[in-house]
């Protein structure tokens, strides 16, 4: 399998045109294989949840908390779903033609790309100004959680540490998405110089052949990676044990029990909620 | 490379083909003397390299590569250099010959596609005793053409056309030979000569 597709420029020099579309099939395959593997594992292997007793105990401590705990503001949810819609349009318009389903995809693709870019800019501002910006990022402090999560996933009984507002998997996914989506968006906007849009006057000679080659490579690689990421994301969103998160993204709130069951109230402090009790249970 | 991609290339049959071909490759086969590798296919519609061409009333045995054009075969394997190659791209008409009486660009005809067809080149127009064809005689009478590199093509196009329309107007004849380029741009004189050729043919 070739990873790259080469062409020839007017000076008969080889130019990188894009990644090999074989990689799309590879990514699709990898995504689906992961999904199958994970699902099989979940079915076949025991999965460790926080014990009900533990949660019951916490319920007692945090009984002042409201029944519905706001997890995503309305605007944050709008962002998510707009972004999701844009992402689906982008991926479908990008890869269906490669898969042999031919339609006029280019306008849809770049317009969806602009929607995505716009939504992300909105999200950046919103998250910086209104949300707990750092709550979504991953850092060294997450190592214990990572260790615990892995062990739990392997069916081991592990006490603490529990996630803050966003579970670690969520946050890792976000980080990967940020890297990949920003790559796709930045390269995509550059690539709009190569086609006719109202945004730029078309100029395929804005960069050297090599720069364009890398741009196309990154865009393609990001797109292909997104195929896998989106498959994983959708898969987890639809899994029964994660359904409470998905519901949160739909409704904006989660139950107090879900909050206590899955999160460390210390790491996800609720604004306006009751202060932390004096003693840890 | 092409040969690597050939799914049905059979080396042994290829070797047989070359041996067969070698028997007839004459020293006149200049241009394509070293024969390229290519399989001897067995599928329906496959092509034998050794073929017989009917040129100027003669049956000529000749070994022809698959990608060879008629102009090349005529010029380099049959020694008929009266047919000129001016562009090799159907854009000048210097290579025009008659195939079953129809003027065609021999640079853009695969030799293998005219097996069994009647080919006439400029060398085949005059009678055996050297008497010029009326269209040739007309060129002599009118001093048509200058450098004359395009002449064989013009003459063949005219001869072919006159078979379907022996009494053309000057304008009709201009359209008939419009697939022939003359860079001396001597069209006016050429057309006069060709019109005279039509007249001589009618008289003959």
């Amino acid at each position: 399998m070739d990873f790259l597709t080469w062409g020839i420029n007017p000076w008969r020099q080889p130019v990188l045109t894009h990644i090999s579309w074989d990689l799309f099939w590879a990514s699709l395959f990898a995504g689906v294989m992961f999904l199958v593997a994970h699902a099989s594992y979940m079915i076949l292997a025991a999965h460790r949840k926080r014990s009900a007793e533990e949660t019951d105990a916490m319920e007692a401590v945090y009984k002042d908390l409201p029944d519905q705990i706001e997890r995503h503001t309305f605007m944050a949810r709008i962002f998510h779903w707009v972004m999701a819609a844009a992402m689906f349009v982008l991926l479908l318009t990008a890869f269906l033609p490669i898969g042999g389903i031919r339609f006029a995809w280019v306008e849809w693709h770049w317009m969806a790309g602009l929607v995505l870019a716009g939504s992300i800019i909105y999200h950046l501002v919103h998250a910086t100004v209104f949300l707990d910006f750092w709550s979504i990022w991953v850092g060294p402090s997450d190592v214990p959680e990572l260790r615990a999560e892995v062990l739990r996933a392997l069916g081991r009984e592990v006490p603490g540490p529990k996630p803050g507002k966003y579970p670690l998997g969520n946050r890792l996914y976000h980080t990967a998405s940020v890297v990949v989506a920003l790559t796709a968006i930045v390269t995509g906007i550059l690539m709009m110089n190569r086609i006719r849009t109202p945004l730029f006057s078309r100029n395929p000679y804005l960069f050297s052949d090599a720069t364009w080659g890398i741009t196309y490579l990154l865009h393609g690689a990001a797109g292909v990676a997104l195929v896998g990421l989106v498959i994983a994301h959708v898969y987890f969103a639809l899994r029964p044990e994660k359904w409470w998160i998905t519901k949160g993204m739909l409704l904006g709130w989660i139950t107090r029990r879900a909050y206590l069951q899955h999160h460390d109230p210390e790491r996800w402090r609720l604004r306006g909620g009751k202060a932390r009790p004096a003693a840890q249970p | 490379m092409t040969e690597d991609r050939l799914k049905n290339a059979s080396r042994r049959q290829f070797i047989k083909g070359v041996i067969a071909a070698g028997a007839v490759v004459s020293s006149s086969a200049y241009l394509f003397r070293s024969i390229p590798l290519s399989g001897q296919p067995t599928a329906a519609g496959s092509v034998e390299r050794l073929m017989t061409l009917n040129v100027n009333g003669q049956q000529r045995r000749v070994d022809v590569m698959r990608q060879e054009t008629l102009a090349m075969t005529l010029r380099y394997k049959l020694g008929l250099t009266g047919t000129k190659i001016g562009c090799d791209r159907s854009e000048c008409g210097a290579c025009t010959v008659l195939i079953d009486d129809v003027p065609r660009y021999s640079c853009s005809v695969l030799t293998h596609s005219v097996r069994g067809r009647r080919i006439v080149t400029i060398e085949g127009l005059a009678a055996g005793d050297g008497t010029l064809h009326p269209v040739q005689q007309a060129v002599v009478d009118e001093q048509g053409f200058q450098c004359a590199f395009c002449m064989p093509g013009f003459v063949m196009a005219t001869v072919g056309y006159l078979k379907s329309n022996p009494s053309p107007t000057r304008e009709e004849l201009a359209h008939a030979v419009s697939g022939n380029l003359c860079r001396c741009q001597d069209y006016n004189k050429i057309l006069t000569a060709m019109m005279r050729g039509a007249e001589l043919m009618r008289r003959a």
Binding site: - | K7, S38, A44, G45, R66, V109, L110, H112, A157
Partner: protein
């Protein structure tokens, strides 16, 4: 990489005698097989050594797709019928003069003696950037050299461009669209029939192909219905040189009149987009109208609605507008004034 031209690379050659043999070869070799009919487009690609098919399927020995059959007032044209045979066929001349006119304006006499109707409608674009063998969109790359700030694109598209701005070079295609023709495509799997205008595909949908023909398919027959037999026809082709040249713009129309009222019309233009365009909006707008200068002017304006000129081809908008006007009017502006 060293580049060489004008000596064709080796290929395997098949000369099937029947459609079935051909379809078998196409099924067997798929996209590796290159179909050669008249060869006039093919030889350029092969001699330029840009396209390097492993297998060439030469249709020169196939006799069953040659000739025009008169069927119930309409025509069945074998795809391998030469343009000359088409022009000279009495039924074409008498009832479908539009097609004869278009075919007669193709290239040069020798090319018409050899070029086939199937090849003429299926030929590749002549964009000189694409034909230079560079990796443009149409060649599977990701750039259009013909639409850049410095590109020379006098002959390129004003309509329907999407990344690629190449145009359809066919003269017979607009005529066949105007006549409401249907194209029969056959493969081992069976036969499908597409309307003439649907045989062609734009770069928005398929940027590397000019037609919807699949590699395993063969265009076998073009059916021309009797609907416009003997109707009012108009064909005009504008080109730089009066021989060999491809159209700058061409127009074809078939019209039925009742008195001076346009009853029904089909209208198509070529060389303004990657596919020959049927001007449905114009057809609808002029149907039922009186055929006069006013209708012609309206049609001309409507025809170029949405046209986007490139750096060097704004004249094509004027040319297309005027040719559509002429098609409605039935000819150039007459008489004094202007």
């Amino acid at each position: 990489m060293a580049v060489i031209r004008d000596v064709m690379p080796a290929f395997e050659l098949f000369q099937p005698a029947t459609v079935d043999e051909t379809l078998g070869l196409l099924e067997r070799y798929g996209a590796d097989a290159w179909i050669m009919a008249g060869g006039l487009d093919s030889f350029d690609w092969l001699k330029d050594r840009i396209k390097r098919p492993a297998v060439v399927v030469d249709l020169s020995q196939m006799m069953d797709l040659r000739g025009v059959r008169d069927v119930g007032g309409g025509l069945e044209i074998g795809a391998l019928t030469t343009l000359t045979d088409l022009v000279r066929h009495p039924a074409v001349q008498q009832r479908f003069g539009l097609l004869a006119q278009a075919a007669e304006l193709v290239a040069s006499p020798q090319i018409r003696h050899q070029g086939t109707i199937g090849g003429n409608v299926s030929q590749d674009t002549r964009c000189w950037y694409y034909r230079s063998g560079w990796s443009c969109y149409r060649a599977g790359g990701n750039i259009c050299y013909a639409d850049s700030p410095t590109a020379v694109n006098r002959e390129h598209a004003i309509l329907g461009a999407s990344r690629c701005v190449a145009v359809s070079p066919s003269d017979t295609a607009p005529a066949l669209i105007a006549l409401g023709a249907e194209f029969v495509l056959r493969s081992r799997g069976g036969e499908r029939v597409v309307a003439a205008e649907d045989y062609f595909v734009g770069p928005d949908i398929n940027i590397t192909q000019m037609t919807v023909r699949r590699p395993d398919e063969l265009l076998t027959t073009i059916r021309v219905p009797d609907r416009f037999a003997g109707a009012q026809f108009y064909f005009e082709k504008i080109r730089d040189r009066q021989v060999w040249d491809f159209p700058l713009v061409n127009v074809a129309s078939a019209m039925t009149l009742s008195g001076e009222t346009i009853q029904e019309i089909r209208l198509a233009v070529g060389a303004v987009a990657a596919r020959p365009l049927r001007l449905t909006a114009v057809e609808l707008a002029v149907a039922g109208k009186t055929r006069n200068e006013q209708t012609a002017a309206m049609a001309g304006e409507l025809a170029v609605d949405g046209a986007v000129p490139l750096r060097h081809n704004s004249y094509k908008i004027l040319l297309m507008q005027n040719l559509v006007k002429r098609a409605i009017r039935g000819g150039p502006m007459q008489g004094e004034g202007g």
